[in-house]
Structures are given as C-alpha cells and as structure tokens.
C-alpha cells in the first residue's frame, strides 16, 4: 500500500480522560499514547483521524471496532459510540476489526481482577482499579473477553468521534472563512446557516486531518444522544441473513490449499509411531506433516479440498503416548476431591471469624452441602479454523480471533520470524464464548503454511477434533457450610472451592511460562463478591493439579460458583424456614446491595413469585453479580409428566448504563440458553486419557423444543457500567435447580442435572 498522499498527523490524545484514575507511578508512560496503527495501513487519499476513524475522499467513513464480533453485537455498539459524537448515522459507516495494535488495548478486561467486590467504593479498591488500568495498557491486551469491550470503549471511542468531528468542522470553517462555532453539523454534512452552503466530511477530511487535534473534548450529555441508549439494527445483519462470506471458514484465496489437523487426543502426549500410507492414498491428499507447538503435538494434512483432508486425517494410523494426568474421569475426580480436602492455596475476601461462629452454632442449625460440575466444551457453532500464507518470510493470517495480538506473537515465535512480519486479518466469528482467545488454531495454520511453498492454506478442524481439543471449562467441586441463628439469620458461611487453575494452563500453553503471581481470583468469583450481609464469611480456593487444558468459558468461574452459591442459599433458606426470595432480601442490607434487591423484587413481580402455581409446577430464583452486571432470574418448570419441562425464564439485569437495550436483552437471552444447556446432559469425560465425547450427538446444547419462553427487563440502578455477554449465564442453572426442588422436593447438587432427572 502506498503511503504517498496519506495525510499523517500527531497521535490522538484522547486517552487522557480514561486515564484519570491512574497512579503517579509510570503515569507519563501511561499517558503517552501508542502509535496510530491506521497510519501505516492507510491508502492514498485516506484521511486518518485517530485509531478509530478513517474518512476517504469519496466520503466513505470507516470506524475501527477493535474487538471481536462473535455474535454479541459489539461492532454495532462500538461503532455507535463513535458515530454518536461524529454525528453520522450507522448506515453511513463501514465497521472493521482493525489490525492488531497496542493502541487497541483493553484495560477494562482486567480492571476487576483485584480482590475487591465490584461495589466496594473504598479507597483501596479505587486505587487498585486505577493500578490495574495502567497494567492493562502496558500489557496492551487487545482482547475481547470478560464482557469488557463496551466498558473499555465508552469514553475512548466517543472521544475519538468528537475529536474528529471538531477538526472536520474547523476545516470547513477555514475553507469558508467563518467562525467554526457558527456552523452546524448533522448526518455527516456541515452546513453554514448564513448562506445554506454545505460540505460533506469527505470534502474536508484531507484538510481536517492535518489540523491540530483539540485538547479539550466535551462529550454529548446523555439527554442529547441520538444513537446511544436506543436499539440499533446490527451493522452486519444483512450479511447474516443472506449467507454472507464473513466467517474465517469462508475465506477463499487464489491458489489456496485446504487442510486439517489430527492432534494428540491425550493432552501433552506425542505420537510414538505413525503410518501415513493409507492417508496419502486418499484422493486429493497431498502431504502429511508433523505439527509441534506449545498447544499440542500431532499431524497436519494438506489436501486439495477439505473433504479430502478430513478423510486423510481419518486414515492416519497413529499410536499416541500416555497422558500425563489420570486417564479416567473417576480418577480425575479423585484428584479434585483430594484438593478440596487438602490445605487451601489461598483465602480471599473473608471477614469475621467463621470457625468460631460455626463452633458456637447448634449442630442442628448448621447446613452443609457439596456440589460438583464437570468439564465443558465451548462447542462454538463454527469449528476452529484459520487460513495462513507464508511467503518471502512473511506470514499473513485470516482468523476469527478474540486476541489478534496474542495470535500474532505466537505465530511469529513458532516460525522464527519478526512480529512485524505477521499480518492478522480478523474475520467475523461463528461464536467465541472464550474459545477464540486461544492460539492453537492460529498456530496449526501457520505450521501448515510453512509446508506449502508459499501457497495459502485454510485449515479447518472437524467437529470431533474441536470437541476433543478444547480448552475446557474446568471441573469444580465445592463445600459450603452455613450457620443459622435461632431467628433464621445466616451468621456464618464457609466456602471451599476446588478446581483447576485456568491461568496456569493458559500461561503454559500460550507463553510457555508459569502463572502470574498472586491469588487467582477467578477460581472464587461468583461465590466471592456477591451482595450478601453475613457477619462471618470465608472463601478458600484449592487448586487441583491436572494437566488438562482449561480456559475461559462464558462467565468463567461464575459459571460454576454462581451455581454453587445460589443453590446453597436456597438450601439455607429452606433450613431457616424462609421463602428463598424473602431470605435473600433479608440478607442484602448494605446500601451497595440496592441494585440486587431491586433486580430480585422486579423479577419476582414479573414471575408472580409466591402466587398460586398449578400442581406439578415450580419456580426457582437466583441472583449473580458478575462482570459488573447484577442479574436476577426466575425459572419455572413443569414436572407433571415426570420429565422436567423448562417453561419460562424471567430475567432482570442491571448494568448501570445500557447503550443498546435490544442487543443487551438478546445477550441475556443467549447467556440463559447457554447456561441452561449445561443442565441438559453436557459433560466432557475422559477414558484412557482421551475425551469421550466427539460431536453434537454426545455433546449437544439446548434445541428449539427445549427452549423456554424468555422475558428480559433492564434496570439502571448500578453506579457503574457492566458487561452484557456473560452475566446472563451464571444465575440460570441455580434458578433451574431451585425450581426443580420447588416442584419435586429433590435437591440436585451435581451437573449435568440430567444425571438425576429426565428433561422433556
């Protein structure tokens, strides 16, 4: 691409406002913005305003939404932030993922990583949040995850839009020789009210881009918003109803080859012997190559089409080495059990004296329960795939990735080339749920591309390979113990959670390093940090040492801790002789718990909680605060024909400010179906060191006939903005288990619930 004629300008300064919480240490470095990655990529005639806005002479306005669009609508919402301040409508713009670059760091993703509950406004919590923000920038995590994309962008991207608008108006003012303040702008057209003359953004873009950027940016007050706060049609909606070629798997390049991989089904093991002769005889198979990476060891099949590659993979005869972990699920569970009963690895966020309080409680007033959940696969609808071309020492990748910079670095390292020589084109994603932040599918494509003499190759995994080589939601087991006073108040809660460490697994496969120091809060999140007034609480985490890859799965630790915690509160309320809703409300006594109380009350009203239900029906309630969003749900089941039919789910979510209500509600609905799907037979088990499940016939998810009616309402009591993609998931499963208890009297403490009861 020619850089001639590209208008360059100083880097965008708009990061200052977002930095307001930063600590003095390293402040200067932090304030110094990263280079604008669009400058290097701009075509002739493009005017680049900042890392988020590009306007061509023909008035094509491009907004960079540097977060992965995997179904959560983030492109629409991020573009709306810029468009609101730029004063253009969403149908006037193009939205692109943008290149991997430090400028697109995501600070919000790790800002809640400290030990303080979300609502803790105390000084120390604020200071920690500020520090975390700085760390976020230094690590330059261009990552989509933790339901953080919109929070991170909220100020940055509106400022980007406003800054561009201001210089565009100024350029028009200079051209007309009038005062900028006298001009008006609407829908990308600048008007001089004095004579009715107009200019488009494209007309003045070139002149505007060389002007000094504004030092003071005032953002539009909420009352004046035209786009934000209202539901918008998805920017990519049309492509998604017409079969658009937008996914990684749709990439088509001239002279492209096709491939697949067959990696060791025992994690951490290698092939002992391989016979490739039958595979090489498959019509269309060109080559079989070894693949050695930090994420796995195995073979790549290079072929003329995907079908041939799949058949070639099946025809490979390989003897694999032994797994470095217990070979069967029962033995794996024994490791978990042992961890739960061993000394804890860390304790976090407790208060009072739990041991003393429980010792002083009558045995009859102590409630104890043990819960367990299995490994789970992400099972994104689009199987893992990536396309790569290695030519003249440079690698180009086409990927549906949640972490383009991480993929870029890992592929450079694998091939021994410079990071600058790796180009990443991010495609749309057929589901992510945390899976597409991993580097394995990128690495395998890069490894195969090294063997094709410069030809591009698209490497598509079979569904079987995808199911059996996931980075699973970890298995987890917990023990909860509570003491109840004579008047039915919970006086103590003791929580022990055993699970595998995601950070240990992730850091080893991604960076070949150990886990970051300090406690791994995600092991406890969902139990820890919940709005609950209990004088004595203790949270202890026990790491189970299992070398099975585990990773971020929609709502991460909350996905199991939410289940444990909210099922347990239901059990305690039963022992206390109280209604589950009234019991919860009676224990949310701090001012900060206000959003939770309101969400619970509202969801109860929607569901007519406590009303007379016909025989055979039951309702269960749960609330989880996760990713800054408070979500209360009521599930109603019908068990009148001895199977459980999930009839209806009511959901109230409070994320503080919601930028696109329809999309937010759709995310809640999606999170609920994702959560409830677990209950229906989802589990990943092991035999002989290998995953036993392989395709949708043995690892399925909820289907149309099982899907309840879902009603979602939103509240805005929360003082800070929360996420959308994940918080719908955690309360869905406990609300379901609690509903089954209400209808049948049966407490089910192990997932999937279908082991204990039949679903319709």
């Amino acid at each position: 691409m020619s850089r001639l004629g590209t208008i360059t300008r100083r880097s965008f300064m708009g990061l200052g406002v977002a930095a307001a919480g930063g600590l003095a240490v390293g402040y200067y470095m932090y304030r110094k913005p990263y280079a604008n990655p669009l400058l290097a990529m701009a075509s002739e005639g493009d005017a680049v305003f900042n890392p988020y806005v590009k306007i061509a002479q023909d008035n094509v306005i491009t907004i960079i939404a540097p977060r992965a669009e995997m179904g959560q609508g983030v492109h629409t919402t991020l573009a709306a932030l810029v468009a609101e301040e730029l004063d253009v409508s969403l149908d006037q713009i193009k939205v692109e993922h943008g290149p991997p670059a430090k400028a697109y760091f995501n600070a919000a993703m790790i800002v809640e990583g400290g030990p303080h509950p979300f609502f803790d406004e105390s000084f120390i919590a604020e200071v920690t949040r500020g520090t975390m923000n700085v760390v976020g920038k230094f690590l330059a995590m261009q990552m989509t995850g933790g339901s953080s994309a919109t929070i991170d962008a909220y100020v940055k991207m509106r400022e980007a839009g406003a800054a561009a608008r201001m210089v565009l108006i100024e350029a028009a003012a200079i051209q007309w020789g009038v005062d900028a303040a006298s001009l008006s702008v609407s829908a990308g057209i600048i008007t001089n009210p004095a004579d009715g003359e107009t200019l488009t953004y494209g007309d003045v873009a070139q002149a505007a881009a060389v002007l000094e950027p504004p030092t003071k940016i005032s953002l539009r007050p909420r009352a004046e918003w035209k786009i934000l706060g209202r539901s918008q049609p998805r920017v990519e909606g049309f492509e998604k109803v017409t079969g658009g070629r937008i996914f990684g798997i749709d990439v088509q390049l001239p002279d492209m080859l096709y491939g697949t991989v067959k990696m060791s089904p025992r994690f951490g093991a290698r092939a002992i012997s391989v016979d490739t002769s039958a595979a090489l005889e498959v019509n269309g198979v060109l080559d079989i190559v070894p693949v050695e990476t930090t994420t796995g060891s195995g073979f790549g099949i290079i072929a003329e089409n995907t079908w041939a590659a799949f058949q070639g993979a099946e025809a490979l005869e390989i003897v694999w080495g032994e797994a470095p972990y217990p070979a069967n699920t029962d033995d794996i569970r024994a490791v978990l059990d042992k961890a739960l009963n061993a000394k804890p690895d860390f304790e976090m966020g407790g208060k009072g004296n739990v041991e003393k309080e429980l010792a002083n409680t009558q045995p009859g007033n102590i409630v104890e329960a043990v819960y367990e959940v299995p490994y789970l696969a992400h099972a994104t609808m689009e199987p893992m795939n990536a396309t790569a071309q290695l030519k003249d020492g440079k690698l180009e990748l086409w990927l549906g990735t949640q972490g383009p910079r991480i993929a870029q670095g890992a592929c450079a390292q694998l091939l021994g080339i410079e990071i600058e020589d790796v180009t990443v084109n991010t495609t749309r994603m057929g589901g992510g749920f945390g899976r597409r932040g991993e580097i394995d599918f990128s690495l395998y494509a890069a490894a195969l591309a090294a063997k094709t003499d410069g030809r591009p190759i698209k490497v598509t995994w079979t569904r079987e390979e995808d199911t059996q080589h996931d980075t699973y939601r970890p298995i987890a087991k917990s023990r909860f113990k509570a003491g109840i006073s004579e008047t039915g108040e919970m006086t103590a809660m003791d929580v022990d959670i055993a699970t595998a460490s995601i950070m240990t697994s992730l850091m080893a496969r991604t960076y070949s390093s150990g886990p970051p120091p300090g406690p791994e809060k995600i092991m406890l999140e969902g139990a820890l940090g919940q709005p609950l007034t209990v004088p004595n609480v203790r949270f202890r985490a026990h790491k189970a040492d299992l070398q099975i890859p585990v990773g971020f799965w929609r709502s991460v630790g909350n996905s199991y801790n939410g289940f444990f915690h909210e099922c347990f509160l239901d059990e305690v309320s039963e022992h206390a002789g109280k209604d589950p809703l009234a019991f919860r409300l009676s224990m949310m006594n701090d001012d900060e718990h206000h959003p939770a109380r309101e969400a619970l009350k509202k969801v109860a009203a929607m569901a007519n909680w406590g009303g007379n239900l016909p025989a055979g029906k039951g309702q269960g309630i749960a609330h989880t605060l996760s990713f800054g969003t408070w979500v209360a749900q009521v599930v109603q089941v019908d068990v009148s024909d001895d199977t459980v039919k999930i009839e209806k789910v009511w959901c109230v979510a409070d994320a503080g400010l919601v930028l696109d209500p329809e999309n937010f509600k759709a995310q809640m609905m999606s999170g609920i179906v994702f959560g409830l799907s677990q209950a229906l037979d989802q589990e990943i088990t092991f035999s002989d060191g290998e995953v036993e499940q392989s395709n949708f016939y043995d690892f399925d998810a909820m289907r149309m006939h099982q899907c309840p009616e879902i009603e979602v309402e939103l509240l805005e009591n929360s003082p800070r903005m929360g996420g959308a993609g994940e918080p719908g998931t955690p309360p869905s499963t406990p609300a379901l288990a609690n509903a089954i208890f209400a209808a049948t009297g049966q407490r089910i403490r192990t997932m999937p619930l279908s082991h204990s009861i039949d679903f319709a």
Binding site: T242, R463, A666
Partner: protein, 152 residues
Amino acid sequence: MQLTINGIRYDLNSDPEMPLLWALRDILDIKGPKFGCGVGECGACTVLIDGEPIRSCILPVGDVEGAVTTIEGIANGENLHAVQAAWLEHQVPQCGYCQSGQILAAVALLNTIPDPTDVDIDEAMTNLCRCGTYPKIRAAIKDAAKMLGDKS
C-alpha cells in the same frame, strides 16, 4: 455430474462421494451453507432440494437428484425473502453462523405449513443455534407467516 444450484447449471467432476456441502463450499465457492458437524446433527449445512430441507454434509454429491437452493438463492434479486426480512426485523442473528440453515429450514416449513403452530415449529426447527436465538427464530417465523399470508 450435472447440478442445478439456485437456477444455474454446473458441471462438476469431483469425487461423487464428496458430500454436497464440500462440493458447494470448496469446489463451487458457494459459501452460504456452513459446516458445523459433518454428521447431520446441527443443520448449519441445510440446503433445499426441490423445496425439502436437506443436510448437505451427509449427502454425497453424486446422489443429488433435484434442484438445489442455497441461502444465496432465496431472495428475489434485491428483494429479500419474507423469512429473511422477518429475520432482520427481529434481529435474529447473533454470531449468524447457524442462520443460513435456520432460514432455509423456516422457508421449507412455511412452504408446507403456511401458518405453523408452536408445536409445528418445534418439530420442524431442529437446527442447533449455539447463541440461543430460538425465541427470536420462533417470533420471526410467525411474522414471516403473516407477511406471506398477506401477500397471497
């Protein structure tokens, strides 16, 4: 082998055992039908053959008899099919990956049952959506049924 896809005739000399899905995607570069499972379990690869919804990942291309319609072939020029229009109106797609198959399954359903009940929808719409868009799919089908009913 000769195939009629979206009204166009193609000559194909691939392995007749190759599933129709891969012949469409890799050989003919028709990318609307998606690969989800390869075993007929998810419906992402759904196409219509003479109006019937067929999972193209398990149908050898040599066995195809009849005219194939993919998602690319259901709109009338610039005018979206009523089902596509209803999908847009209800903002059904999230990641969108399953939606080619969902839309074609819905088109086939409405061709046989113009005014489907919830039970009809449950029985016909067996495609997997990992993003959980089912409630919106249901609502969009009912709306599309109305649109089509008003037209005739």
